[in-house]
């Protein structure tokens, strides 16, 4: 889990975030909390439970299932396996990062 956050979101910039500005906090039950600040493609990831504009919460098992491709992020969200609070529009900007990439 830790590797996912540091490797997938731990870079300093990513053009796929070019249209986003805001802060996220990812709470993973049993693993920890990460806070990501995005400013039009510039990223800053910290292990932190400070408040953010958009809060996403999972169990470690559900997130592991999403990252391995066994579950889809959006259907997990609709099923109540991913909880989203705060700015939902921001959540839409990151959902693709939780897909398994071949």
């Amino acid at each position: 889990m830790r590797e996912f956050f540091t490797e997938r979101l731990g870079r300093s910039s990513d053009p796929r975030f070019a249209s986003l500005k805001g802060t996220f906090r990812f709470d993973v039950q049993g693993a920890g909390s990460w806070r990501l600040s995005v400013d039009h493609g510039e990223l800053d990831l910290q292990e932190s439970n400070e408040p953010a504009d958009c809060l996403l919460q999972w169990s470690d098992k559900d997130l592991a299932d999403i990252l391995s491709g066994r579950r889809n992020f959006l259907t997990a969200f609709l099923q109540g396996r991913v909880r989203v609070q705060g700015d939902h529009a921001l959540a839409a900007g990151v959902h693709n990062f939780f897909k398994k990439v071949a």
């Binding site: 969200f77 609709l78 099923q79 109540g80 839409a92 897909k99 398994k100 990439v101 071949a102």
Partner: protein, 687 residues
Amino acid sequence: MSTSETVSILEGETFVVSSRTGDLEGSPTNTHGLFHQDTRYLSRWILTINGTAPGTLSIDNLRYFASRFFLAPGTASIYVNSKLSVIRTRAAGSGFHEDLTVMNYDTEPAEITLRIDLAADFADLFEIKDHQPKKGGHYHRIEKRGLILGYRRENFVRETLITATEPCELAPDHLLFRFRLAPGAEWSTCIDVAIAVDAWGASSEKPKYAHGDLDARPAGKTLKDWMQTAPALVTSHSSLTRTYERSITDLAALRFFPAFAAGGALPAAGLPWFMATFGRDSVITSLQSLPFEPELAAATLKVLGNLQGQVVDDFREEEPGKIAHEMRWGELTAFEERPQSPYFGGHDSTALYLILLDEYERWTGDRALVRSLEHRARAALSWLDRFGDSDQDGYLEYERKNTQSGLENQCWKDSWDSIVFADGKIAPAPRATCEIQGYVYDAKKRCARLAREVWYDPELAQELEAQARDLKVRFNRDFWVKKGGYFALALDGQKRQVDALSSNIGHLLWSGIADEEKARSCVRHLMSPELFSGWGVRTLATGMGSYNPIGYHVGTVWPHDNSLIAWGLRRYGYREEAARVALGMLEAADYFEGRLPEAFAGYPREMTQYPVEYPTACSPQAWATGTPLLLLRTLLGLDALGEHLIVDPAIPDAIGRVELLGVPGRWGRADAFGRGLIQLSPMKKAA
């Protein structure tokens, strides 16, 4: 929004479909109910007074989100000299608020038992016409705050909370109010029906509107502001004014603020059942309305960009770079019994997205947005060449990968029997429909401009231009039906020409892929009695094996199809023909009180005298709503050139003077004027 059968009100992602008494009598096959995000939160809501259902005296459609029903005991056909009156006022929004008032006009006191029978089946929209047993369990709780009806399937929880201000008996299937009304007295209660979605963390226990609260509070601009920011139309043609105002108002109602998406309001495909994000419909409506309400295009580009495909997923037909076709929120989608999370079964949406991206920049000059979406555009271009053309023959073809619930046809004519040979036989898959190749040509040409002027990548620009040139040459060779003198509807799985004569050839004019001489021949066909009904161009020509004037995509006339065809006719310089198509459509709109339907029958105009409506579930439909706007653009010959608005009118004399004041664009605001100088010659009659 009322028809003879039902009354619909809506707000945001909530809508209510009721009978003319305001009752909801939903069933697995009846579409009444309170719906939110594709789930029916209330399926039954039936009012009786002293054991009798009241009848409707009249209905007042107060706002798009509110209705008032004037009721009295008895029915319309059995006159009862009633001394009781009932007024039921309902406002939709995150559930609904209902005010009930009962008045006694008798000289004697009245003992009243007012009962509302209720139920919530939590049906997914997709379940309603295809009854399937629910896989989760229903439950109810009666708490101090009110009655809770719920549904749970694993972590999927949806609840309806019902509360009333007056004392009542709460039961899992009804509310009961008992009271005595003195002569001349009245009794009132407020009832809140609130919805709760467990996963969202922000569910309210109250609907959006409260007692006496009928001032619309849309998430975006108010209707008044929306109307004021649209260009003003001044014309000597009075019904054109009505059609224009109707289109702008309906476009406001169609604004959809998807909860899980960035970027404001985009046009939903249709009300109420297609209040959802659709790739093709949202893009085309945004294109049609760009010179009028450009903010819709910006939101469409952002929202669809966020949903862009990233992985190969056959169930959703997702591929990296592909633009989504449809997004839904109900239980069947959540548990992957339907693929709309989102579903990617539209083979044209990706090229259309790129076309909109360029047109948006040309029109508005908003380079910041186009730069921020550069990586999306590059991924989309890559999809066109790689996944879109799966056999690498140089044309985009589709064949569904989800054989359980995927669409057989992934072009705009998406019914199963739309892609046919002239003799009526269905073309075998995979199918490369002609208009998709045109869109790809146009998308590459437009992205070449963006690459050169906005993304500063001249190499990409050259590459795309070379690809477009090559595609045009091959297309004019491989799709041309020599015997008929028109472009084939498609190439089939064996690369044979699917030789039906169809409206799709008009889209090729819009794209600019047709050689001039071939375009001339296509125009002759488009304006022939076989394709042109007198109101508009039919989807399929008379004389084709499958032609049926009331066949969904094989003979009906679709307004949005005609708006794109008229635009294409102007592109190739066929001013009179474009004016004729535009006039036919605008005259048809008069018969629908300014609101064009999704489609109407393809009968010849001289046979029926009026356009015969094709029954469809949604009204208004987004791209039919956008049609008069694109036709106005076409008639005035509006285009963006550099920092200027170009106006080159070609208006029929039957329409007369047209002024469009305050057209928004990169120039700020500009006015466009035109006079009706085109005299249309009489049409050739059908043989």
